[in-house]
């Protein structure tokens, strides 16, 4: 009697299991900052009969898991320092590249990327990027996501300031009504260093860009303009020549010339050049061989392989020129403790984990700044930054979370400012293993998620859809390529074609 009962029970279980097995089943792994989004996505997928469940991870741990190929679907994000897909789409989608967590590989795309990152003709590069985008869109190696806007806030007393797309806060033309000091609430725990060769993060760069000048400077929208370099030309396909602005001095009176520029790049490109340590910044310059002096106001950048001029100009906005004589005289440690640059502000004092105080450089070649001093105040908690802005302690704050925007918008005297984001957020799918080695399944997921409602409800509209991982602010963006629309029926149709059962 008992035996028959067990037999019947296991039969029922078997039938139930085989019915379930036909549904698409996977775990969506998300980083902690995107767990709300993950919940919404899982609910949407379940609604059409996908058996998706959610798991939340610490970012670093999840990345290790993705690289090991043990995850099926995971959230990821990747930022760009160039207004070009060179350091976003390429590392993310070129075969075996550093950010290719989805193990995507398409020879046609690889070839387009090769052309785009080595050709010195802009039209050819643009065409290559357009080709790559269409192919990537069709292959759907990822669930394409969105770009978050860069949300900051400021007191209305701040004049002449707008947040920049790449956090390049330059306060040389900013003023504050009723005060000669501007205090900025920064989002980080600490600025990494004051040595322009030893950091890789944007927040450190934001501070350094006010103490030092670079050869080129970006506008808020990412256009490159002359700065310490006044003109440039192509000498041969591997060599770019730059004229330096004459009459520029560092704040200690030392003149800035070709020797300083060559020195700046040598200490970044030479292994172990910084008291035995190597700069983590060399990768930003592409396949460069060396930088050489032609005369006191002319330098040449010599490449090992052809590298597009626009990328060189973009890269140079990120390299702050340091004084050779002062740095060699006092040494790296003393220089880092009291850096000297040629920028609109001079480092006065501070501690990297609490506040960095800069004072105006009255002899800056581009005219003295309007402010007397700028204070960078480290405020890692967003609610504290907002409280400090409302209390009038700071005038500008970085990184306002979308759900706290209303807290500021309703208060008179302060306002929210936004700039284009430079970071793509997406869901990686493991293209190398089932179930996501099937293009139809990957496309189905792209149709199955209602991003518009997620961006509206969770990110309060401060985010924009992406058709692939190419940013609208970057070079070679396909304007006519619309993102995958939300189409649950199409998603179900594709899943059925791939052999899965749906609701």
């Amino acid at each position: 009697m008992h035996r028959i009962k067990w037999l019947l029970l296991s039969l029922v279980a078997l039938v139930l299991m085989s019915a379930n097995a036909e549904k698409l089943t996977f775990v969506l792994d998300v980083t902690e900052n995107r767990s709300d989004e993950g919940q919404a996505i899982v609910a949407q997928l379940q609604a059409i009969g996908i058996d998706a469940s959610l798991r939340v991870w610490q970012t670093t741990v999840l990345r290790d898991e993705m690289l090991a190929g043990t995850r099926a679907a995971s959230t990821s994000d990747w930022g760009s320092a160039y207004f070009d897909p060179f350091d976003l789409a390429i590392p993310k989608l070129r075969t075996k590249d550093r950010g290719n967590y989805s193990f995507y590989s398409n020879a046609a795309v690889d070839e387009a990327f090769r052309v785009a990152s080595t050709s010195i003709d802009d039209a050819t590069r643009e065409q290559a990027y357009l080709t790559a985008q269409r192919q990537i869109f069709a292959d759907a190696p990822l669930v394409f996501g969105y770009v978050l806007q860069n949300i900051e806030a400021a007191s209305d007393s701040v004049q002449g300031w707008e947040p920049a797309a790449d956090n390049s806060e330059n306060f040389s033309r900013v003023s504050v009504i009723g005060s000669d000091t501007l205090v900025i609430g920064m989002r980080v725990n600490a600025v990494v260093t004051l040595d322009p060769a030893m950091y890789r993060d944007r927040d450190t760069e934001a501070v350094l860009r006010n103490i030092f000048d670079a050869l080129t400077i970006p506008t808020a929208e990412g256009q490159v303009q002359p700065h310490l370099a006044t003109a440039w030309r192509v000498i041969d396909p591997l060599t770019y020549e730059f004229d330096l602005r004459s009459g520029v001095t560092f704040s200690n009176g030392e003149p800035l010339d070709a020797d300083d520029v060559v020195f700046t790049f040598e200490r970044i490109l030479t292994e172990g050049a910084i008291d035995g340590a190597t700069s983590p910044r060399a990768g930003l310059l592409g396949p460069i061989d060396h930088v050489e002096k032609v005369d006191a106001t002319t330098v040449r950048f010599v490449y090992k392989e052809t590298f597009p001029q626009e990328l060189v100009l973009q890269a140079l906005t990120h390299f702050q020129i340091v004084p050779k004589d002062y740095l060699t005289e006092v040494g790296v440690a003393a220089f880092t403790a009291k850096p000297i640059g040629s920028g609109p502000f001079v480092y006065a004092r501070g501690a990297l984990d609490s506040q960095v105080v800069l004072e105006a450089n009255p002899t800056h070649w581009n005219g003295a700044p309007k402010l007397k001093s700028v204070v960078w105040q480290m405020m890692p908690e967003a609610s504290t930054r907002i409280a400090a802005l409302l209390a009038g302690e700071v005038q500008v704050i970085q990184a306002v979370p979308p759900d706290l925007v209303e807290r500021i918008a309703s208060v008179p005297g302060v306002a929210v400012h936004t700039a284009l984001g430079t970071r793509s957020y997406q869901i990686e799918l493991n293209n190398a293993a089932a179930p996501f080695d099937d293009t139809r399944v990957r496309q189905a997921l792209n149709y199955a998620i209602d991003w518009d409602s997620i961006l509206k409800n969770i990110y309060r509209g401060y985010a924009d859809r992406l058709s692939t991982v190419f940013l609208p602010s970057g070079f070679g963006y396909a304007e006519d390529l619309a993102p995958y629309p939300y189409d649950p029926n199409k998603a179900k149709e594709l899943l059925r074609q791939a052999g899965y059962e749906t609701n």
């Binding site: 610490q58 590392p91 550093r98 260093t193 172990g272 930003l284 105040q377 405020m379 890692p380 302690e393």
Partner: protein, 335 residues
Amino acid sequence: MRLTKLLERVLSAVPVALGVAILAFLFLRFLPGDPVEIMLGDTQVSQQQLAALRSQLNLDKPLLTQLGIFLSGLLRGDLGESIVKHAPVAKLIGDTLPATIELTLATVLVGILIALPVGIISAVRSGSWLDRTVLSGALVGISMPAFWFGLIMILLFAVELRVLPTSGRIAAAMVVDRTTGFMLVDTLLAGDLKAFGVALKHLVLPALTLGVVFAAVLARVVRTSMLEVLSKDYVTTARAKGLREWGVILKHALRNALIPALTVTGLQFGELLGGNMIVETVFAWPGLGRLVVSSIFARDYVVVQAAVMLYALTYVGANLVVDALYTLLNPRIAL
């Protein structure tokens, strides 16, 4: 307390700290995540560049070799250099520790100032409405998340009433030269009374946030041990001698009732000296907790293993001080 005993205790802390450091070293290496990958962020980096950076930081060496490098540095008094910040770890910890110590002292002071009178009164009037209010108040205090409480304090005192600053250790525009790293001391050394006042105001909210929670724990301990002591024979004797009631309570009972409270305070000291990352983050207080947590996220092993060693030493030290104080309160307790 005999000096040899004390010395013995101090020396016994050394193997403890060393053992903890080795454990921390090993555990950290098993944590997923590569410090070089994290540091380089989203860049086009060649595998050669990655490998070069790893080898420079000794991250490509076998685990035992790395441990050997760490221990031999330790013997020479060298804690190593931060992977991310390229600064000596001793300097990084030395820069943040004064801020944490300052906050710890203020927190313990706030805690004692609240808990002692409240605990004593609550014990003396045990069962009264006052006692019941204290007990339930303490329960609220213990269960309150510091993150939430800190933000409420900021909104109330800094944004609405504007009597205290939101965060930081000193006003943005104020110049104080760093000599000791203790803001209250440095402002006095500089002879700047105005800055001293400003620094003191900055200390109030974080110290209250941590102090109220500590006071809640301590008040309950004081109350319980006070109740126990008050029922002892010697207290009855003291009363029978005709001593005034408050004299009995404060002179005879309190001394013995303080011993459990001291234990709790010592433990709290050890914990607070590690830096409370949450409160340090909410109040933008540049202390040890923030340094350690951000170093964990960046997999900056060198900073974390040194900090963990320091934690062990702090706990051992705090316990030692507590034991020494026991003998002062009650000479019959031997070290």
